[in-house]
């Protein structure tokens, strides 16, 4: 080891690992004031540089996290969720067209239904492309995307044949041709037992990817935050030590530039830590109250789409009518759950929810000892959204969704009463009114739901933006502040060193 003052002062480590066999060398030289000044100056520069690096890299990680969620993973996950909706919509319109039979003018008409079918088909394709790019590298999910692609071709062939058969048989509305019905059942079964579950799972899978990325990123940033805090405290400690040394050695009260450097360092540390914390909070809120809520509600829309298609299936397939009615209730319970053993009870429960909102029936009741007979509260996609912390505008929009959903159930009751009373054409008319693309009860419901989803989407964007804004300040503030500290350091030490020239 060389024992020149300049090399031995290159880091704090050399003072501790000094060569014991040569005490008169390093130690003696370190005992001189200029050497100690140099040592402290270099130590200060090292810790300041360390603070710069740890703050810079953690801020970078946080920025990446926000950016990936905001521009990449988030929107892609949302797009994958759309796939399920598009598929449900396709089968719903197909059921309507079959149910119409020769009555091409029912509701908003066959042409509109066919156009909407095609539009959904296009959307399904787009969502599949998104899903394919999001699942790249995940062999299980990739195979599911492929399976949906292939299955969709088969579905289209099957229901296309059903439609052709029904047209050739010139089946009047509500009396689907027997062979056509069998083909449609095959297609709808393929859709419901194979394609839609896979599509739904793909959406869940991409939510899982977003969640894992987000949590991993947050954990990293939390660790980085610790590092920044630690380095900041260390830096302040070194600078204060420097100050104390100067005070003792030079008998001056305070070294003003050094004091300012300490203050700037403290401000820098606190500022970065607070910014990381705030940006982390923004990102979590963007994900949970924005993205997760929007995706859950978009599932609520998809399930409801399938649910109103169950109305058509209930009418067009009398043999399986009980089954379709039961499935309708089950899907409805997934959208908005209240304890109800049958549809009649359910209608009443839904009306109560719509009436009492923003209070939720069954909330705040303590479960009894048996746990079974107590009211579990208002659950399902809409119920869960109502329990989340909502902005006032969102609360208003959810209120509208709930009342539109209630109207949808009232219309459902009317349709089933007509059907049970033997008025088939009345029931079919009621069903087509519900599905009317301009003023149907279902259309009103999806529009209200879309407004609510949009609000959550905006909350997502606002959270991302706020996080990005907070972090972006530091791209120039961090180097500037670091530079300022270094300059102040130089200004504080130089005059003292000069005394020894």
């Amino acid at each position: 080891m060389t024992t020149t003052a300049s090399t031995s002062a290159h880091g704090p480590s050399s003072s501790s690992s000094g060569d014991d066999r040569n005490p008169s060398g390093v130690r003696a030289r370190l005992r001189t004031t200029p050497a100690r000044l140099w040592l402290l100056a270099v130590a200060s520069v090292v810790v300041v540089a360390g603070l710069f690096v740890s703050a810079g890299s953690t801020l970078g990680q946080a920025r990446d996290g926000v950016e990936v969620l905001g521009e990449d993973a988030g929107p892609q996950a949302m797009a994958t969720t759309e796939l399920y909706l598009a598929l449900a919509d396709m089968d719903a319109h197909m059921a309507d067209v079959l149910l119409m039979g020769t009555g091409h003018g029912l509701g908003s008409g066959r042409e509109v239904a066919e156009e909407q079918y095609e539009a959904s088909r296009t959307r399904a394709n787009e969502a599949l492309l998104q899903a394919a790019s999001l699942t790249e590298g995940d062999s299980i999910e990739e195979r599911n995307v492929q399976a949906v692609l292939d299955g969709l071709g088969e579905y289209e062939r099957t229901v296309g044949e059903a439609l052709l058969l029904n047209d050739e048989a010139e089946a009047p509305s509500g009396e689907v041709d027997e062979t056509a019905l069998r083909r449609y059942r095959e297609g709808s079964r393929l859709m419901h037992t194979d394609l839609m579950p896979k599509a739904f799972n793909l959406g869940l899978g991409s939510s899982a990817i977003v969640r894992a990325n987000h949590e991993e990123g947050q954990d990293e940033v939390a660790l980085g935050l610790l590092r920044v805090g630690g380095t900041g405290v260390l830096t302040i400690g070194v600078l204060v030590g420097f100050q104390l040394y100067l005070r003792r050695r030079f008998r001056r009260r305070l070294n003003a530039p050094l004091l300012t450097a300490t203050a700037v360092t403290a401000a820098l540390t606190v500022g970065v830590v607070l910014t990381l914390d705030a940006a982390g909070g923004d990102q979590s809120r963007a994900k949970e109250e924005g993205l997760d809520a929007a995706m859950a509600l978009s599932r609520a829309g998809a399930v409801a789409t399938d649910m109103q298609a169950d109305q058509s299936r209930y009418l067009l397939d009398p043999e399986l009518a009980d089954n379709h009615q039961q499935v309708y209730l089950e899907r409805a319970q997934a959208v908005l759950f209240r304890p109800a053993g049958n549809l009649e009870e359910y209608y009443g429960q839904v009306a109560e929810v719509a009436d009492t909102y923003p209070d939720l029936p069954g909330e705040g009741e303590q479960p009894g000892e048996d746990g079974e007979d107590t009211d579990p509260g208002t659950l399902g996609y809409l119920g869960e959204d109502a329990r989340d912390s909502l902005l006032p505008a969102e609360r208003g929009a959810l209120g509208e969704v709930l009342s539109a959903y209630d109207t949808l159930q009232e219309e459902d009751r009317r349709m089933r009463e007509l059907s049970e009373g033997g008025d088939r054409s009345g029931a079919i008319g009621a069903r087509m009114d519900i599905a009317h693309h301009e003023d149907g009860a279902f259309t009103d419901y999806t529009e209200a739901l879309d407004r609510l989803i949009d609000l959550h989407g905006r909350q997502f964007e606002a959270g991302i933006e706020s996080g990005e804004r907070a972090l972006s300040v530091w791209t120039w503030l961090l180097p500037t502040a670091t530079l300022l500290v270094l300059v102040l350091l130089a200004a504080g030490v130089r005059p003292r060193l000069a005394e020894y020239r």
């Binding site: 299980i140 999910e141 195979r143 599911n144 037992t193 194979d194 839609m196 579950p197 896979k198 739904f200 799972n201 869940l204 899978g205 939510s207 899982a208 969640r211 894992a212 949590e215 947050q218 954990d219 940033v221 939390a222 660790l223 935050l225 610790l226 805090g229 990381l276 914390d277 982390g280 909070g281 979590s284 809120r285 949970e288 997760d292 859950a296 599932r299 043999e319 009980d322 089954n323 039961q326 499935v327 209730l329 089950e330 319970q333 997934a334 759950f337 304890p339 053993g341 049958n342 909330e363 705040g364 303590q366 479960p367 579990p376 509260g377 659950l379 399902g380 869960e384 329990r387 989340d388």
Partner: protein, 307 residues
């Protein structure tokens, strides 16, 4: 209590799942956050400092995945699904449980299977006595407030079993005026009477295996519950009974996990996906129910979501 059981208890001691009171408190309050609560990074970092010594992940409760062993609850009295014989469990659920545990990274010798009854399922998960439940456990909105469900790994349907010589019963409506048996504590038959408004007489037997006996000696005309459960009985004597094959509800058989264990839930879903893709699910369904005339679904079910 076996030594293994003690290990399990120790493993859960540090987690909030261990304390049913804490959990019930949270559930009773129904704060209704379905996501990991938004904790501040500062708080997470502080928690990280505190727990670093304990070698735990910062700010999170341990996932079932992080245990060295896994205890899985299955049925012990359900032929074809989970049946205990000579201390060994056998059935579709048991095989699924082993497959899932393997995919979740547990060696066979680290998997313990324990029998649970239907009423015990929630309490045993909440109390941490079992880590996971695969026991004809239907996912319902109520249960989802206490248990996180992976899957479903199969969607059973409620169906009707009649004796083989009954050729008149073709749909659920034909049960009008007949005697329908249900196991005690079940509400399957009430779905027919209350749900569909069909005028059938409901008789409660101590269990579904009693219902099958009653069907055999004419004390009941039909038994109605999940078709997979019925198929399990039917597989024992395929010529004696007949499925009406009129499925009218979805019973989503889920994998019960401690509430909030999203990580394990997502791992379970991935494993179920693989189980269907690599053909295991189809083989197992064939093995346990192939001898019956039940219409089996061999494609992956729609998952419930882990939140």
């Amino acid at each position: 209590m076996t030594p293994r059981d003690e290990d399990q208890v120790v493993f859960f001691e540090s987690s909030r799942f261990a304390d049913p009171e804490t959990f019930r408190g949270a559930s009773a309050g129904r704060v209704g956050k379905r996501h990991r609560p938004t904790t501040s990074l500062l708080a997470a970092a502080a928690a990280g400092v505190l727990t670093l010594a304990a070698c735990a992940a910062p700010g999170e409760e341990a996932s079932v995945l992080e245990g060295d062993t896994i205890t899985i609850g299955v049925k012990f009295d359900q032929p074809g699904l989970g049946l205990a014989e000579d201390g060994e469990f056998a059935g579709f659920d048991v095989d699924v449980a082993h497959y899932l545990a393997g995919e979740m990274g547990f060696d066979r010798e680290d998997v313990e299977v324990a029998g649970v009854t239907s009423v015990e399922r929630e309490d045993k998960i909440i109390g941490g006595e079992v880590d996971m439940v695969v026991a004809t456990y239907s996912i319902t909105p109520e249960r989802k407030t206490e248990v996180t469900f992976g899957g479903p790994y199969y969607v059973a349907k409620q169906d009707i079993l009649v004796s083989a010589d009954d050729t008149d019963t073709e749909t659920v409506r034909d049960l009008e005026g007949l005697d329908v048996c249900q196991g005690e504590g079940s509400n399957s038959a009430s779905r027919i009477t209350d749900g569909l408004g069909i005028d059938a007489t409901v008789s409660d037997a101590p269990s579904y295996s009693h219902c099958i006996d009653w069907l055999g000696d004419g004390r009941a005309d039909a038994v109605s519950t999940d078709n997979l459960i019925l198929a399990g009985f039917l597989a024992e004597d395929p010529s004696a009974y007949r499925f009406v094959n009129y499925p009218f509800t979805d019973e989503k058989y889920g994998v019960g996990l401690p509430y909030g264990d999203v990580e394990a839930c997502e791992a379970v879903n991935k494993a179920i996906n693989r189980m269907y893709q690599d053909g295991t699910a189809g083989e197992l369904l064939e093995e346990w129910f192939g001898s019956t005339d039940l219409e089996l679904v061999r494609t992956v079910p729609q998952f419930e979501g882990c939140n």
